[in-house]
Symmetry: C2
Subunit: 322 residues, 2 copies
C-alpha cells in the first residue's frame, strides 16, 4: 500500500497529487491516505502537503525500504518478496526462519543494522546502522547440494558486476570474499538445507561495507576491512547500489537455472585474485594446514592446489595469500 503511494508520488514528479486521487486509486479513505503519509514521514520520507494541492515528494530517504528498493527494480525472481528491518539480530537467521516457513524463491531480508551479524563458522560480522547493505536471499534452485558452493561463487560475481556499474573494481578471494587492496569489502555466508540430490533452500547472506569511513571501523578491523566509499572517494547511494546487486544477482541466477554454471565459473575466474598465487590453506574438511599454489577452480567450484605432494582439491576452508 505504502509502496504504491510512494510510486504515485514519484511518478507525479514536481506536481502535487491530491489526497482524493490517491484515495480513489487505492480504494481507501483520505484519512487512511493521511495516516500512510505520516508513516512514510516517520520512515524518513519528506512529503509536502498543502490544503487544496495535495501531496508532493520532496525527498526520499536512503533507507533500504521495500518502497525504495522495489520501485524500478528490474528483476525476474530476486526481491519480489522483501522483508525489511530497521534492526535485526542477523538477516540470515531471519531469512532461515522465512525459508523454513516456505518463503518463495528470491525472497530478500534486508536490515539497516545487524546486532548479531555472523560470518562463516560463527565469526562476528560488523554491520553498523545505515552504513552498509546487510541482506540475505532465499533461493530454491532445482540443483543438488553438491552445487551449493557454486551459488556462493555466483553471489560474489554478482556483487563485483554491480560494482562495475559504479566503475569500482575489486577481486574475489576463493571462495567468496571480495577484497580491495588486500582488505575485505564484502563477506558472503551460504547456508543450505536439503536432502541427498536435492537442495530444499539456500540462504545466502551478503554484507557489503558501503559508507563506512576508516575511523568508523573498530580498530581491530581498520587494516583488514574497507568500504565502497573509501574506494570511491565519496559516499555511494545505498538504494541504487542495492538495486544493482539484486539485478546482477537475478541475471546470473536466471542464467544458472537455464544453462548451468559455465558462465559463472568463467566470470569468477576473471575476477578472482587467488589463482596463480602461493597460498596457505586451512582445510575445513579435516582442519589440516598446508601451503601450495592455487592452480585451478574445478567444475565443482573447489580450489585445486599444487603442493609438494601433488595436487589437492579443497572444497571448503580458509585461504590466505602469502
Amino acid at each position: 500500500m505504502r509502496k504504491t503511494i510512494v510510486e504515485m508520488l514519484k511518478n507525479a514528479g514536481e506536481s502535487f497529487i491530491s489526497g482524493e486521487s490517491i484515495a480513489g486509486e487505492l480504494g481507501i479513505s483520505r484519512t487512511a491516505v493521511w495516516k500512510h503519509v505520516q508513516k512514510l514521514r516517520e520512515n524518513g520520507y519528506e512529503i509536502l502537503s498543502y490544503a487544496r494541492c495535495g501531496y508532493k515528494l520532496k525527498d526520499a530517504p536512503d533507507l533500504l525500504l521495500p518502497s525504495e528498493v522495489q520501485i524500478g527494480l528490474d528483476t525476474k525472481i530476486i526481491g519480489k518478496q522483501m522483508e525489511y528491518y530497521p534492526s535485526v539480530d542477523s538477516t540470515n537467521r531471519a531469512a532461515k526462519a522465512l525459508a523454513y516457513h516456505d518463503a518463495e524463491d528470491g525472497t530478500i531480508v534486508v536490515a539497516e543494522e545487524q546486532t548479531g551479524g555472523k560470518g562463516r563458522l560463527e565469526r562476528k560480522f560488523f554491520s553498523p546502522r545505515v552504513k552498509g547493505i546487510w541482506f540475505s536471499i532465499v533461493l530454491r534452485p532445482n540443483f543438488s547440494p553438491h552445487d551449493a558452493p557454486k551459488f556462493t561463487l555466483m553471489s560474489a560475481v554478482a556483487v563485483v558486476e554491480a560494482m562495475k556499474r559504479f566503475n569500482l573494481k575489486a577481486g574475489i578471494k576463493w571462495p567468496n570474499d571480495i577484497l580491495f587492496d588486500g582488505r575485505k569489502l564484502v563477506g558472503i555466508l551460504t547456508e543450505m538445507t536439503g536432502e541427498l540430490g536435492k537442495i530444499s533452500y539456500l540462504v545466502i547472506g551478503v554484507g557489503i561495507n558501503v559508507n563506512i569511513s576508516r575511523e568508523e571501523f573498530p580498530e581491530e578491523l581498520r587494516d583488514i576491512a574497507v568500504s565502497l566509499s573509501e574506494i570511491n572517494g565519496e559516499e555511494i547511494p545505498r538504494v541504487k547500489f542495492f538495486r544493482a546487486v539484486l539485478e546482477e544477482f537475478d541475471k546470473l541466477y536466471v542464467e544458472v537455472n537455464d544453462r548451468g554454471f559455465d558462465k559463472v565459473l568463467e566470470r569468477w575466474k576473471e575476477y578472482n585474485i587467488t589463482l596463480g598465487k602461493n597460498i596457505h590453506v586451512i582445510s575445513a574438511g579435516d582442519g589440516e594446514n598446508f601451503d601450495g599454489k592455487a592452480v585451478d577452480l574445478n567444475s565443482e567450484g573447489a580450489l585445486v592446489v599444487e603442493t609438494e605432494n601433488g595436487l589437492r582439491t579443497v572444497y571448503a576452508g580458509d585461504v590466505s595469500i602469502r
Copy 2:
C-alpha cells in the same frame, strides 16, 4: 517422572512397591503418584494396585514410549533426548523443528504412526500404526556437508547390525535402502542443514517395517515391500528391536566421530548388494539415465559405475539392479 516410576516398578520385579516409597523417592505426594500410574495405564501399562501392598507392574506395552525404550538403553549419545508421538505427520518434520530450535546431538523423534510419512523426493512412505518403527535422529557431527552422504550409509549399516542381533539378514542397495529378497524392508531419508565446510545438523529419518503382514501392505506395495516379521516367521518385539538399532547406531556414530568413516564404508561394502551388479542409474544431479556395472564405493560414499564411456561417479540418484 513417569519413566522413573516404570523403572522402580521394573526393578521391584514380582514384589509390590508402596505408593509411599515411590512418593518419597520422587518427592511428590501419594496422590500425584496415583495420577502418574493412571496415565501409565492409559499408555498401555498393566499395573496392579492393592491397598496396603502398593503397586506392581504386570505387563508393559510394546509401545515405543521413552519409558520403555530408554530404560536399559546402552548408548552414549543417541536417544538421551526422546520425543514420542502416538501419531505425527512425519517424524522428520518434527525432528527438523526440534533441530531448528537447537535440539541436542542424538535427539530422537519416534511415532507409532506417520500420517504423512515421506521418503526421498517427497515420495509417500507407508507407516501404519504400531506396525513399524518410524523415527528420526538429529545429529550434530563436526563434519563437512560433503560427508553427509556417508552418515546415510552409516544409518543403513546400523540397522543391518541390529538385525544381525536377531539372526536376521538383509542387503543394502546403494545408497541406503535395505532389501530382503528384492523387496524393501527399511527406508532412510537424510536431510541436512549447514554452511560451506560445516554441517549444522542432520536429520536422519528411518522407517522400518516390523510387524506388517503381507495382507496389511497396500496392494501396490505387496510385491515390493516386506517386513521383519515376514522374514522372521513371527512378530518381533518392537521396543527391543528399536533399542538394538539405537545402540548399533550409537556405536557407529561414536566410531565415526573418533576415527572417521573407514569402518562404516568397510561394513557397508560387506552388507551391500549393489557392487558387482549390472544396474540402471537415474542420476539426481542431472536427471540423466544410464546403464552400467557398479564397481566400487568411493571414499565419499559415491557409487563408481563402469559404463560404455568409461567410469562415472554417482553422488545421488536412483539405482535399480537389472
